[in-house]
Every structure is written in C-alpha cells, then in structure tokens.
Subunit: 237 residues, 2 copies
C-alpha cells in the first residue's frame, strides 16, 4: 500500500471518519491525496462523498486494508489522506499562542473552540505535540482545516513577528482577573503547557488569572483556554 501507519515524520496525515473527511474536502481540497472507502460503506453519506469526489475528479479507493492499519477497532468507513499544509498566521486579526502543548486531544479541542469564536491564527511554540496527529485532527472536529497555524522555536521569535500585538498571558500567579481584563486589539492570548503552565518570565506581559477556589489545583488546559477565548471575543457575538 502507498500509505503507512501514521507517524510524525510523514509528510501526509489522515482524516478518520465521514465528518472529518468532508471538512477536508470542503476546506483543503488542494491538499487532498486520496479518499478510501471501506467495502461496507454505503447510504446517504456515501452518496454525498461520491458527489464531492466526482466534482474533484477523484476516484475513491475501495479497500479495507488501510482501515485495518489505521482505525483502532472503531467503526470508520471513510479515510481521507492529505498533504500536511502550513498556512502562515497573519496580522489581520487576533491570535492564540500555545507554549509547548503536549496532548493531542487538548490541542484539537482548543483549535475547535478557537475556530468557533473566530480566532483563526494560532502560534505554537515548540516542542509541541504533533499538530497533524490524527488524534489532534479528530479532537478538532475538522476545525484544523479552517485555521492558520505557525510553529515557532521560541516565544521571542513569535514576538518579533508581531510587535504591535497586546500580549495577555494566562497564569495562576497573575493578579488581574479575567473578567476584569480589557482586551485591546490586536491581542494574543498565551497559554502554557498542561503540566507546567507558563514560567515567571511571562509575568512581564499583561498577565491574567481565571480565578477559581482551592478545591482544585487548576482548570484543565482546553477549559481554561476556551473560557479565556470566550471572554475575549464575546462582544463579537
């Protein structure tokens, strides 16, 4: 077979399932390499994807082999294969910056919320979990195909490219409460790693805390990130 079990070094990745594959076709057809159908795929969804494929002049490959390799006992009937893409973030709008995110499900969930609240430019400071891991794509529910994501080796590199941005860093040591923060545009909301958060050097920016009681140590990362994005963007909705 042309394709192999996913690993980070490949220059392609997969959408596992109908919904994700439709998002891929709709939003990133230029990066589409192949569509696979399982031999038991049929019904309305098949008719829909058939018509997309026809429009794109793509012939779906019917074979169960790739499903045995890629899907973990899940009921998946369609797989899309796509070339990894890199859309540079731009300076037209607000940003999120994730410093060393380490969990694929969390990263995908954050991308989904960001897209929903209209933040389409995401900076990621490496080392980071793999953006194109099928688990990230799954958790994003396809939102990854709406977004520009750029990786930076360190936070300073990001700052150098976006000098006019108002930087808001989310950390438990901050003094200003989220609901008392005024977000000046264009802004960047910066979040740390799941286990360690942001280090003290990030207190030099507009640092913000999402206050909670001490019955828990912290909020989970996608929860904290999503609450912050909601608060910073809610006046747009």
């Amino acid at each position: 077979m042309k394709y192999t079990k996913y690993n980070k070094s490949l220059d392609y990745s997969y959408t596992l399932g109908i919904t994700l594959t439709i998002e891929l076709i709709k939003k990133h057809k230029e990066d589409l390499l192949d569509i696979y159908y399982s031999t038991s795929f049929n019904g309305e969804s098949k008719t829909l994807i058939d018509s997309y494929c026809k429009d794109l002049n793509i012939t779906p490959i019917v074979s169960d082999k790739i499903f045995n390799i890629l899907s973990n006992k899940e009921n998946i009937f369609v797989i899309g294969v796509f070339k990894k893409f890199y859309n540079k973030i731009n300076n037209n709008t607000n940003h999120i910056c994730l410093v060393n995110p380490s969990n694929a499900g969390n990263l995908g969930t954050i991308l989904r919320t960001a897209s929903g609240f209209g933040i389409e430019n995401i900076a990621i400071i490496t080392p980071s979990v793999d953006l194109f891991d099928p688990k990230t794509i799954r958790a994003s529910m396809g939102a990854i195909f709406n977004l520009n994501v750029t990786l930076y080796e360190n936070f300073q590199d990001y700052l150098n490219s976006f000098k006019n941005y108002n930087i808001y860093t989310f950390m438990l040591q901050a003094k200003t409460k989220l609901h008392e923060t005024k977000f000046l545009k264009p802004f960047t909301l910066v979040f740390g790693n799941e286990a360690t958060g942001l280090d003290k050097s990030y207190l030099d920016y507009n640092s913000v805390i999402i206050k909670h009681n001490n019955s828990i140590d912290s909020l989970n990362l996608p929860i904290a990130t999503s609450i912050a994005i909601y608060e910073a963007t809610k006046s747009n909705f």
Copy 2:
C-alpha cells in the same frame, strides 16, 4: 484477590494514582476500603501516603497483582479502593444538571470545573455514563470527592425536588446569549447529551445560547458547560 476489574455493577471503585488517592483519603476517608502500593513505590509520595494511612489506622497492601489488572500499561504506584457514595444534593446553593451525559472523560472534566467554580451540587438525569468509572474519577482529578451528586430518572423528578430554582437550559435553538443572561439565584444550569443536546421541550425554561460562528457545528460539551459555569459564577471570584 478481594477486588476485580472495574464494572458498573460493583459497589466499589478505584482511584488510580497518587493524586487521586490522596484526594480520596482527605475527603472521603469514611468510604475508604483499602490502599494498594506497587512493589516499586517509594520516595516522598510514599512517605506522605504512609503518614495518612498511619493516621487512619490502615495498613497499605503491597502487591503488584491489582496493578496488572487495573492499570492499562500506565505507570501507577498507588491504588485506592472505596465504597461508592451517594451524597444527596441540597438546596443551599446553585446546581448543574446534566441530562444523559455519555462520556466518562467529559463528565469528569465537568465535575472538575464545577468544583473549581464553587458549584458543589450536581444532578444527573439517567441514562448516564457511570459516575464512578475510574475514567470519570481520573478526569475529575479527584473533584468528585468534593461534590454531592444525585441521579434522577427524569428531569421532572429533579424539578419536583427544587421548585424554587431558576432553570437555565443551554441549547443551540435558544435566543438569549450567554453574556446577556442575568442569572437569578438559586439557579440550575442544564446541559444535554454530547450528541443530541437538549430537546425542544427545554425551550420552555430560560434557554441560553453560547454564540459561535458557523465554522464549527458546536462546542464540545465540557467546553460549553465550563464557559457557562464561568459566566454564571464569575462575580463570586
């Protein structure tokens, strides 16, 4: 061995790992049945748990057997066994009501946020994912031990017990935006199932929408729930 692989019908469950077991000991010692140490457990955490056990007159059982049965290749050194507990929700404070939640990780994450924002009474309308599934407990990061949770067979049963509560139902068909909603106390925030949300009958209450753009179909359930809890409670922090 006294204990078996977890299933819903057992009257006990497990905390897998140091942090969760410490939360169990601190907050629900009356329900503690046993503590297991793996043979390779040592260091500071062991000293700490040793001292808790001494105070409680419990002798930890050192054996790798239970770890082989319960932990999925993870590095776990401590397991707590506890009797499932049922603390009735009370009418002193605000509530969350989850209608048919279906995912253990999601339920646990919601419990964690609820506890952090001071909502300690949770109603769950069955059918529901198992509250005491070790995956729920893990995702709650131990917050389950701070909370009162009561299961109801239907929403009407819940309402009958809390007639004076102001009911806010979160649904995509609602008209009032979350950030324009005034939450009158005592309140109940009601959320539907992951796949189906709340049905139309819930529009009869104060229905609320968390507005987002149409690049995504919906927010993920713990994200939506957490944003709502944040907004409804932020003035307390």
